[in-house]
């Protein structure tokens, strides 16, 4: 996968951190969080992993 593709993916993941597909009241609780809040946390974790991965894989340093 090219660097530009991964940069694009990072932007998509960032946009997906918003709980777009959750509506109305939620009484589904996962680890103490309503389902949409749990989704937001999981996506935030995923975003951090994606950034760190892309940095590690595609930033070629002289050292």
């Amino acid at each position: 996968m090219s660097r530009n593709s991964l940069f694009f993916i990072s932007i998509i993941v960032l946009i997906l951190t918003v709980p777009w597909w959750f509506f109305e009241y939620s009484d589904t609780i996962i680890l103490g969080l309503p389902d949409w809040a749990f989704y937001a946390v999981i996506m935030a974790i995923l975003y951090s992993i994606v950034i760190s991965y892309i940095l590690g894989k595609f930033w070629k340093t002289k050292e």
Partner: protein, 475 residues
């Protein structure tokens, strides 16, 4: 606390002793020699201010789970570095940049664009310093139970900051950030762990909240979702280009050091912001019914509750309170240093191009004292209503983002297009905010989008239009 403050002065003196040459690069960028450990901790301590520890928990208390946006708000800044930090670092080495405006000057070579960019950066930094000084005053009053007055707290801590900052510049600031960042990191982690044990798990709190505040369980509405993505955009385009953050990019020992530091920073919002949001939500379950002013103190109230229960010792309480003060100081000293560098390099030296590096560095130190004196005065005397007008730092700073992001990647981008975009974007953002403050029928966030983000969209649109127009003219 006294020992901690004394250690800062000693570090300031050590920073001065470590000075290699009397140049702007040595003073403002620690000679471009920060290693991974110091660079990471200074990035961390600078990024996370007292607002993180106090304000974010307060927001979570009031808004509930919606405050989780703040995690991505800060992660987005690291995501933005992914796009520009590697290129900008290499250019900074090649062309000896000191400030973010040095890149804009190098890339576009247009005086008015550089000056406007400098003004926007200075305005954002001034706001940052003022709001954090005010916060430090309130916290000192709270911590000492009113024994140390608001004004004295601000004056004493500001004096300590400006002393170590002018003694050793970025070296002192970065080394003090190592202490401050460590206290901050450990403080947040320890308090989070104690809260988990003392108040049972979040599910207990969520059961209580379901009964007392069921509205917190509604997922965001469409307008709230737009505000969510707008907040993320502010983080991506605004927080990432804070001048003191960019100067830390310049200060890295080498590219590998910078890369590793940023990789670690990618996870810090999860450890810091998420933990503080949990503190706020737990606080809303155990101490319900606080008004806005009360909610801003929720971190301290939860700590006091833990202390009364015997869950934390006096030592741990002092640790966390020190973490709050450390977080604020690490942000103020960095913003002050950055502001002094921009005024010295990007404004003063324009009028005095023949002044040598040593004299410019002296001017920078003088400016730090001058800026801090004014900031302390304003932080003490400005009424709250004026403060509301000052809450416009990111909305302005974000207008500089196209110059950096687009300037790095679009070789043919013209300086006048970027300048017009910056002018119009700033005018749009300021107009929306002023109109709202004056009570006109314009919301602070039209359609749920921040004024600054509207300004940014129109900024980029203006650049696009200007480029197309110049393309037609050439044909």
């Amino acid at each position: 606390m006294g020992l901690y403050l004394l250690s800062l002065i000693i570090i300031g003196w050590l920073g001065r002793k470590a000075q290699k040459e009397n140049t702007l690069a040595d003073f403002y960028l620690a000679g471009r020699g920060l290693g991974v450990f110091v660079l990471f901790l200074t990035l961390y301590a600078t990024q996370y201010s007292g607002n993180t520890l106090v304000g974010f928990a307060g927001r979570a208390y009031r808004d509930g789970y919606d405050a989780l946006v703040l995690i991505t708000f800060l992660s987005a800044a690291v995501g933005a570095w992914l796009f520009y930090a590697p290129k900008l670092f290499r250019l900074s080495r090649e062309h000896h940049f000191i400030t973010p405006i040095d890149f804009i000057e190098y890339r576009f070579n247009y005086k008015w664009l550089s000056i406007l960019g400098a003004i926007l950066c200075i305005t954002a930094l001034a706001n940052y310093i003022l709001t954090n000084l005010k916060a430090i005053g309130y916290i000192v009053v709270a911590v000492t139970g009113g024994v140390v007055p608001f004004a004295i707290g601000i004056i004493v801590l500001s004096l300590i900051m400006v002393i170590y900052e002018t003694l050793g510049g970025m070296r002192s600031v970065a080394w003090t950030d190592v202490i401050q960042g460590t206290i901050l990191l450990f403080g947040v982690i320890i308090i989070f762990i104690i809260i988990q044990f003392e108040y049972d798990v979040l599910s207990i709190v969520s059961d209580q909240l379901m009964k007392t505040a069921p509205e917190k369980f509604f997922s965001p509405t469409w307008i709230e979702k737009r505000t969510w993505i707008s907040t993320v955009a502010l983080g991506f385009f605004g927080i990432s280009i804070y001048p003191h953050a960019i100067q830390r990019i310049y200060s890295a020992q080498n590219e590998h050091t910078l890369k590793r530091s940023i990789q670690i920073m990618a996870f810090m919002p999860l450890i810091t912001v998420l933990f503080m949001v949990v503190v706020g939500i737990v606080g809303s379950g155990i101490i319900p019914g606080l008004d806005r002013a009360g909610s801003e103190k929720i971190t301290l109230l939860v700590l006091q509750d833990l202390s009364q229960r015997g869950a934390i010792s006096g030592g741990l309480l002092v640790l966390f309170l020190s973490a709050i003060i450390a977080a604020i100081m690490s942000t103020v000293d960095s913003a002050l240093l950055s502001m002094s560098s921009i005024i010295t390099k990007d404004i003063y030296s324009r009028f005095k191009p023949t002044v040598n590096q040593s004299d410019l560095t002296k001017m920078g130190k003088f400016l730090s004292w001058f800026i801090m004196a004014i900031a302390v005065y304003l932080a003490i005397i400005l009424p709250q209503t004026i403060w509301r007008l000052l809450e416009i730092k990111l909305e302005l700073l974000i207008q500089v983002a196209p110059a950096i992001f687009l300037g790095l990647y679009l070789k043919k981008l013209k300086s006048k297009s970027v300048f017009m975009g910056m002018v119009i974007g700033t005018l749009v953002a300021v107009s929306i905010m002023i109109a709202n403050k004056l009570g006109m029928n314009i919301p602070a966030k039209p359609w749920g989008i921040h004024a600054g983000v509207w300004g940014l969209m129109i900024n980029i649109g203006t650049i696009y239009f200007m480029e197309k127009l110049s393309g037609f003219k050439n044909e």
